[in-house]
Amino acid sequence: MTTLRLASAFILSAGLAGPALLPGTAAADETCMSPYMTKISGQEDFVYVWTLGMDGVGDEQDKLVTVAVNPSSPDYGKVVHTLSVGGRNEAHHAGFTDDRRWLWGAGLDTSKIYVFDVHSDAGQPKLHKVIEDFVAASGGVVGPHTAYALPGRMMLTGLSNNKDHGGRTALVEYTNEGEYVATHWMPTDDNLQGAEKTGQYADGYGYDVRVLPRRNLMITSSFTGWSNYMMDFGKMLKDEEAMKRFGNTVVVWDLHSRKPEKVFDVPGAPLEIRCAWGPENNYCFTSTALTSKLWLIYADERDDWQAKEVATIGDPSQVPLPVDISISADDRLLWVDTFMDGKTRLFDVSDPFHPKQIYEREIGKQINMVSQSWDGKRLYFTSSLLANWDKKGEDDEQYLKAFEWNGQALEPTFAIDFIAEKLGRPHIMRFGSYALYGQAPAASATTELARRD
């Protein structure tokens, strides 16, 4: 672990090698990054927003939007670059490779993967490559979701398949260069692949992936198939057949052999997984979208992995729909966004078995992703869940909003209206920094690179 500072940026090379490193990826924010990747521990320069094209807005295409977020930048709080990729793909999640040079933006609809070069100029990402044949190469996996960095390669979670557009799916591995490596199907009842079905469910569904290398653990969650995540949210809620097709499982895997070990019942669509950072904290959180619960996946006193419901989020009868969570670098706090009421909630998770809500604030009429800086002081929120799940009419606000957390309250710093700016529906956010690549901001006089010590 070493740090670098360029101007005001810090880089934290967690668990990697050499004094500094390059980037990685995964589901949400700096504290959710792959442990194999360098972290930006100081002031980030950019937020990259993987944005869905929106009918009737601007060029209607998916695009990577780059926002300057360093207060020292003359462009602070402004969009400094957009890169349209052609078509709408249901842009959703994106993640860096382990060297943080490439950002993989996946499309849940078309299953295309856009590989952006973020290292040649951190402020001007370029489209490097498009992986068009993900479905064919993987043997029928549809809907690449999480792009998670492993050393020299990317682990992509699928959400669906090309046979029935349902939820049975697989993990798919690629090299950093974009070459297909392997498909790992989620365990199903007829082929648990040696895993233990600990409860009633083994649905074969997928969503997010995280790893705890020191425990040789990989962990996956489960959402729903293409038909559901693509259709109008209201239509789906009224379709009793569709509502039966959500994931109710979390699977823990042997990371090294990629073999599933235990299938846990976690009912109600467990989505994002966030693992603790402390070297003794062998646990991860996930939240269930439909049942509004926080679950802990943890190693018990005998070192066996277990799953336990540990808290309720809001009033489940009102379907607040927790969609994203973000853990602080010290493992003490967990932000939880609930789509339907537009709120973010802060839980004290210092005792991970007894999370307590300590703060909440409405961010907008709808909310989806949250990303926090490594020091926990800056939080960024976006609004879009899925193209056809977002609210309709006046409630369909589309924004990136930045806040400072002062320990007591969130104070707004800037906001960008993604419809007024003709951009679309903003989804995942990833942080960029000049210091990662030994670059200096073009307009800045401070070009020195300093060791933090």
Binding site: G15, L16, A17, P19, D164, N216, D232, N248, V319
Partner: protein, 633 residues
């Protein structure tokens, strides 16, 4: 080495984040049990690149040649590196591997260790020789080479090929500190020069690396990936993702893997020429003859997802073979980009006999009908006929097929004929009812079915619309009727709450106002009226055939009824009262037993469809490939 460790400790104390960051496992115990060598796969990660390197004597060597014939562990290092999680770790682990292999000469012989510097300016061959000298004390063990390069120019292509990005660090005044920022990657390379694993500090450990080395050596034996994991068969009836009983707390999954969804081709044309028991001769238009070749093209087109605007949809995404060529997973269909389709995807078994076509009866020929989903903006979304024809014309895997089958290339007529040809073979009869009624097998059905048949013919009056002939039966009058379901959907008030299943055995009553916030305005559906503009045709829909109903839930034109028992109860209650209700729909006052018997009868109408489904499983699914041509110039 001592000096390096001391310098690194200072850096370690300066870290952010967790107050105490432990040393990487490579310096100590791994901390977990490894899977048995050979019990897992290490899929190739690409080719290990060649390059021009220098050995400790300063002689030029080919890196590629050094990799050939042995398993290699390759580590990029530089000698002035301080980071305990970096180069010193890699060198320590290689040293420990060498120590371990000293006890296993047979393994040691087949393994080579390489430390390659990425600092040619300072790590000269002499410096590398000095480093090698530090490790000279191990007796035996695998060969360990310490290599460098002649210059940055010689080094850079190697770094690029191995994805080893590197950045020179600078001090406060912009001067180079001599530190190189890089991601530590150690490569495992097999004897055929393929990269098989890439290690980072969090799991770079001698035990783990040697476990992988042994796994590579075990590859001569049976491949665990190809070992028969299980012998389950693909279910040809019902979704592999069975959700029956999901409403109940005791629900248990019975999911099937997609890998077993494999089938075998059948002679589809024979199924048209000699249709199964209970079905009449298949009507084939004189201008659209069906041949083995036209069927084969139609089958290929049917499963080709490239035939939609954005490559996500084939006919089979809504007409799923094991779900009766319908969809059990949705009440009403969903098209490209998730767009709303108003009606339930109808099953395609026996579509050859279906006239008219669509729930509102707006088409009369399959050749015409198949174009509508291709062109509908909310189904497959193609913007024009030309866009479909051009795609088919340009796809290399269709080259020559149309010319061979039709005497001309793909066009609106031949594409329509090909798809219709395939659909005309999907004939499924020979049900228990057929064997009893037409086949003269008294034991083909039980008493309940026979009693149900009596209700169907008599008190229920079902046969008035669902016709049965003396030699065969399609169970439809081919006409359109108002049952009131469409009327209710258009005219009834919305409930204030709606029960929503959020997990097995867990349902919530959710306010309609809340659902409304995330709902598009539901499209209206006026049925046959939309075709004829005759007000009397409002909410009329086609009488469906009743064969293979057990495969095609949910039911009715909008999928609004989940089970056959509920369908029977609906008709027993006389449908939904409305001014245009079909006069043949009236209260039936069937007893509970009569209703159960009627369901038993309907269930006896499911034929032997397994071979058709297995054939569909064997059909290739068309997905976008790297070789696809551009669709437009």
């Amino acid at each position: 080495m001592k000096r390096i460790f001391a310098a690194a400790a200072v850096v370690l104390l300066s870290t952010l984040g967790a107050a105490h960051e432990p040393l990487p496992p490579g310096y100590g115990e791994l901390g977990y049990a490894l899977p048995a060598p050979g019990s897992y796969r290490l899929p190739p990660l690409g080719r290990a690149a060649d390059g021009e390197v220098l050995d400790t004597r300063g002689e030029t060597r080919s890196l590629g040649a050094l990799l050939d014939g042995r398993v290699t562990v390759l580590s990029f290092i530089y000698q002035s590196c301080h980071d305990t999680s970096g180069c010193p770790l890699a060198t320590t682990v290689l040293h420990r591997i060498r120590q371990d292999t000293a006890r296993e000469p047979e393994l040691a012989e087949r393994l080579r260790l390489i430390s390659l510097s990425f600092d040619p300016d300072r790590d000269t061959p002499e410096h590398m020789a000095h480093l090698a000298h530090n490790f000279r004390f191990v007796e035996g063990g695998s060969d360990w080479l310490f290599l460098t390069t002649a210059s940055q120019e010689k080094l850079q292509p190697i770094l690029d090929a191995y994805g080893q990005a590197m950045m020179r660090e600078r001090g406060p005044d912009g001067e180079e500190t001599g530190d190189l920022a890089h991601v530590l990657r150690v490569f495992l390379i097999d004897s055929e020069r393929r990269i098989r694993n890439i290690y980072s500090p969090s799991f770079l450990h001698p035990d783990l690396v040697l476990n992988d080395v042994r796994t590579l050596f075990a590859e001569a034996g049976p491949d665990p990936a190809h070992a028969p994991a299980h012998t389950a068969h693909a279910a040809t009836a019902g979704p592999g993702d069975d959700k029956t009983g999901y409403e109940r707390p005791d629900y248990r999954t019975r999911s099937l893997s997609l890998a077993v969804r494999r089938g075998r081709p059948m002679d589809l044309l024979a199924n048209l020429q000699d249709p199964p028991l209970g079905l009449p001769p298949v009507p084939v238009p004189a201008d659209a003859p069906v041949t083995q070749k036209t069927v084969a093209i139609g089958r290929k087109l049917f499963f080709d997802r490239r035939l939609s605007l954005n490559g996500t949809f084939s006919c089979a995404m809504c007409h799923i073979p094991e779900q009766g060529f319908a969809s059990n997973e949705l009440k009403t269909a969903v098209g490209i980009e998730g767009r709303t389709v108003r009606r339930n995807a109808p099953g395609l078994f026996n579509a050859a006999y279906s006239a008219p076509l669509f729930h509102d009866g707006r088409e009369t020929r399959l050749e015409h009908q198949v174009w509508e989903p291709l062109l509908a903006a909310n189904e497959m979304g193609n913007p024009s006929i030309a866009s479909v024809v051009e795609k088919v014309r340009r796809l290399p895997d269709y080259r020559g097929l149309f010319e061979d089958a039709f005497g001309r290339g793909p066009d609106m007529e031949t594409i329509g004929q090909a798809l219709a040809s395939y659909e005309r073979t999907l004939n499924c009869g020979d049900s228990p009812f057929d064997r009893w009624y037409y086949g003269g097998e008294p034991s083909a059905i039980g008493d309940a079915v026979e009693r149900g048949f009596a209700v169907f013919m008599g008190k229920g009056g079902c046969v008035g619309c669902h016709l049965i002939g003396p030699e065969h039966a399609l169970f439809t009058d081919g006409r359109l009727h108002n049952t009131g379901i469409g009327y209710a959907a258009s005219m009834a008030r919305e409930p204030t709450t709606r029960r929503i299943q959020v997990a097995p055995g867990v349902a919530l009553d959710v306010a309609a106002a809340l659902i409304g916030k995330v709902s598009e305005a539901p499209p209206s559906d006026l049925g046959r009226y939309e075709i004829t503009r005759d007000p009397d045709d409002r909410w009329k829909y086609k009488t469906p055939g009743l064969r293979n109903l057990t495969l095609t839930a949910p039911y009715m034109h909008d999928g609004s009824i989940a089970t056959l028992a509920e369908v029977v109860a609906f008709y027993d209650g006389g449908g939904v009262e409305n001014p245009l209700l079909d006069p043949s729909i009236r209260r039936l006052d069937l007893s509970a037993r009569e209703q159960t018997d009627l369901v038993a009868f309907l269930e006896a109408l499911t034929g032997r469809c397994d071979d058709l489904v297995a054939d569909a499983f064997a059909a290739p699914v068309g997905d976008a490939s790297a070789d696809d041509p551009p669709w437009w110039e």
